[in-house]
Amino acid sequence: MVIKMIKKYAAVCLLVVGVSVLLTGCWNSKEINELAIVTTMGIDQAEEDGRFEVTIELANPPEVAGGSQSSGRASTATVYSATGDTLISAIRRIVQQTPREPFFPYTQSIVFGEELARSGIQDTFDLLERNQEFRTTPRVLIARGHTAKEVIKILSPLEKIPAKKLVKTSEISGKSLGETITVKVFEFVDQITSESAEPLVGGVSIIGDKEQGTGVSNIEDTEPNALIKSEGLAIFKDGHLKRWVEKEDARGMLWVVNKIESTIINLDCNQEASALSIKITNTHSSINAVIKNGQPTITIDVKEEGEVEEVLCNIDVTDQTTIQNFEKQLEDKTKQEIERAIKIAKEEKSDVFGFGEAINRKDPGLWKQIKKNYDEEFTALEVNIKVDAYITRSGMRTGSYNQE
């Protein structure tokens, strides 16, 4: 009987709890159309009112999705910005201007203005790590020679959301040229906080008239007024942007950190400079430390595979010795690029390659000793480069029509 009463009592309690929950519940429930989906976030140095100026780009779903919901006239995205002493206070200021609360998990990229990057960005990552709405996967980009706000505002053809345009331009150029990279936030944070490595970040800039690039008209013309261009690699030191590295030098760095997926290398052929293009299809590099008498040296092993892509001179690509020559030339060229890259890094005292990491892996005790004055150690570090190049294919033709 007592059990029955307890059962009844429990049932009533459950009912009360259940009903009250049903009536009051749904604290977290947010309808999907109440979200302001942030696709990219830009951070600049504020000129007044606080430290940062934050720019966010909100997607306009009906226009992006197209179809019957689209009016066809409005822009696919809207850009807002505000300033504040911390990022979150700036973001909250933006809410003053928008009817909806920003929703961050879909942030595709985080763009830093160059000015801010030069004066230091190490303070900007705490929010990105701490706030559960931010993912670890947005890509980090530096707006080269511009503010982040300017870059974000450019509307782009082909890709409906400017944020996608930014990330994809950078990714595709990195993939096919091998001169820039796109790093994820958490990789970036990992490197910037590490004592034994520094980050490398890709840059984006604007070509054309940036004032004219913000309207829908920009995507209506065959030749848009302004375009986003991915160029350059930013070298950081202690959270400050130190220097932009271009083209071959940038590629030299990426060889070492094993970030090249594909690239084009021009070789000399028959005394004609840059008359033969090799497409690199497969590369692998590794960094190892060797400790000799308490002195670390670094060995870099690069393996690359390529195919002949375009021939503007008179050679026979079926000839084994020719190919071997080119392989040799490819090795030398790569080696030169890497050497130049290391020189630049040493000038800036920025260990973008993670040599320190390699020493630590090899000998944690030694690393602890040299850690304190690693800047000097790094500039004095002896680096051996070993490149193996293979040319595996030569396309659909055996000879060139230039051949006589």
């Binding site: 059990i3 029955k4 929950v21 049903l22 519940g25 749904c26 977290n28 429930s29 947010k30 309808e31 999907i32 159309n33 979200l35 989906i37 997607a59 779903p61 009906p62 992006v64 999705a65 179809g67 919901q69 689209s70 929703f103 998990p105 879909y106 595709q108 709405e133 993912r135």
Partner: protein, 522 residues
């Protein structure tokens, strides 16, 4: 205390013990008997009381009584009236007056099934079941000839459990035909059938069949005792029985299978289960039932193993879609938007622009609408059935989207849910999914996947607490048994191993069928 909870049962039980009557015998005088009969049946016009003289002997007055419609009139005329009146003129020569009664049975009646009755109640029951009673003046016994001959529905194709490949016959409303359909398939003397009559008023004939040596003795005893404990006025359908003999009352899950397919019934008999047939319905009950059986279709065993396995896996998928699709949609769009791929998120957000309801209410509206449509579709006369589907599809779906009241994505979700619920072979389990779907939707609306996970754990725990005739409901998944996995998610080829009957469990597995809930203490 009885093993299942039924508020009416106890009362009936008490009534029954009170009015337990003394069996009243027949009277020697047939006119007395006729008068009593008339009193009992009131003014019922379909009762035929025909007085005549056996073999045209004036000193042998007799009476034949039967119910018009229940008994076959031609049959009565030819084999009772004709043989007793015309061909029995020499009946006295064969026997002394003492043995006359026996002699009529032995020599005069050309019926195969004749019994002798002495008790009044049995006599009334025989008349009501279509037999013809013959009483002879001066004897307090009656002869009962089996003359049932009412109109039966012919054996047709199953309507609720159709297959592409497999036998096309279905049970009918007549228990006799149904038993025949089973007997035809198992030519074994070990196939046993026992009959009981349930229903104070309806006196429905109920039979349970099992195969001696395959079905566990405990199980048969359990079925028998549970059937014996039923005290009710009437049994009209197998559902009435099911409610009385199921283990647990408060659950959305069916604990007995019903089928209208003789091959399914036979298959289950061969696996050691007990089949319960009820006169007056084409649906037979199978006990015990486990959750996974509801996903088995007889066709699984007629198709090749790989195809059957694929279809079986599909059915489980379909069950989960039917159960969870709307709640997953709600959870994703109102709590875990970040889980959607970006283009999909943009798409749904664009669709939802301007929709006046929250996703949960939207889903609820559509689900309820759909339930209404389904119910209407069943009730509608066939001729207008088509109109319902047109109204449902075009007006509710298309127009609601056009008007911007419901988002197209929601229509897709509800549509796939609805279609899925029809792909489950057992209607019973599909209903469970329908009911639980709303619970999952509510929990998703309250706490997203967190709520859904907790609900899922609670539902699984509830299912684990169920037993059907002592067999754990989720057997053989939990308690897990590797050897029994060959016919659960997969349907391994028949040669893979002889079908063993362990799904029913070995004898000690069958516990006293109590509610798990009341195991501890009370």
């Amino acid at each position: 205390m009885s093993f299942h909870w039924n508020p009416f049962q106890k009362k009936n039980h008490d009534n029954n013990t009170d009015k337990k009557q003394v069996e009243s015998p027949l009277h020697k005088d047939i006119s007395e008997n006729i008068a009593k009969l008339k009193l009992e049946f009131g003014d019922s016009t379909e009762i035929v009381i025909r007085t005549f003289h056996i073999g045209r002997h004036k000193d042998l007055p007799a009476v034949a009584i039967y119910m018009e419609g229940l008994a076959d009139q031609n049959f009565v005329n030819k084999f009772i009236m004709e043989s007793l009146m015309l061909h029995s003129s020499d009946i006295e020569e064969h026997a002394s007056s003492k043995a006359l009664f026996q002699s009529i049975k032995m020599n005069a009646l050309t019926l195969s099934n004749v019994k002798i009755l002495k008790v009044w109640d049995e006599l009334v029951l025989s008349i009501l079941s279509g037999s013809t009673i013959i009483m002879i003046d001066g004897w307090n016994e009656a002869l009962v000839g089996e003359t049932q001959g009412w109109e039966e529905r012919a054996i047709t194709e199953p309507t609720s459990q159709t297959v592409v490949r497999g036998p096309k016959d279905a049970f009918t409303e007549s228990i006799k035909i149904n038993v025949t359909l089973i007997r035809k398939r198992i030519k074994s003397a070990n196939l046993r059938m026992e009959t009981v009559q349930i229903g104070e008023v309806s006196r429905t004939q109920i039979a349970y069949m099992y195969i001696q040596g395959i079905a566990k003795e405990d199980l048969v005893q359990e079925v028998k005792s549970r059937l014996d404990k039923i005290h009710t006025d009437s049994i009209l359908e197998s559902g009435n029985i099911e409610e009385f003999i199921q283990d647990q009352m408060l659950t959305p899950f069916p604990q007995l299978i019903n089928t209208e397919r003789p091959d399914a019934a036979v298959g289950n008999l061969l696996e050691g289960r007990v089949v319960i047939l009820i006169n007056g319905t084409p649906f037979v009950l199978i006990a015990p039932a486990t959750f996974f059986q509801f996903f088995q279709s007889p066709e699984d065993y007629y198709q090749r193993a790989d195809i059957a396995t694929f279809m079986r896996l599909l059915r489980f998928l379909v069950f989960f879609i039917s159960l969870l699709a709307p709640s997953i949609y709600i959870a994703l769009t109102t709590f875990h938007q970040q889980m959607l791929p970006f283009p999909l998120l943009i798409n749904i957000a664009a669709q939802r622009e301007g929709i006046p309801f929250p996703a949960f209410i939207e889903a609820l509206i559509m689900e309820v609408t759909f339930e209404i449509l389904r119910e209407a579709g069943i009730r509608m006369p066939r001729a207008v059935g088509q109109a319902v589907s047109i109204v449902g599809a075009i007006v509710i779906g298309e127009a609601a989207v056009q008007a911007g009241i419901i988002s197209p994505a929601m229509v897709i979700v509800v549509g796939i849910t609805a279609i899925s619920s029809f792909a489950i072979p057992s209607f019973n389990i599909a209903i469970s999914a329908r009911i639980l779907r709303f619970i999952f939707m509510a929990s998703a609306a309250m706490a997203g996947f967190y709520g859904m996970t907790l609900t899922a754990i609670v539902v699984v725990a509830h299912m684990n607490s169920l037993r059907s005739f002592g067999v754990p409901y989720l057997k053989p998944l939990s308690p897990f048994s590797l050897s029994e996995q060959k016919d659960i998610f997969l349907r391994l080829p028949q040669w893979f191993s002889q079908k063993k009957l362990s799904t029913i469990g070995n004898a000690n597995e069958i516990k006293k069928p109590t509610n798990q809930a009341s195991q501890d203490g009370d």
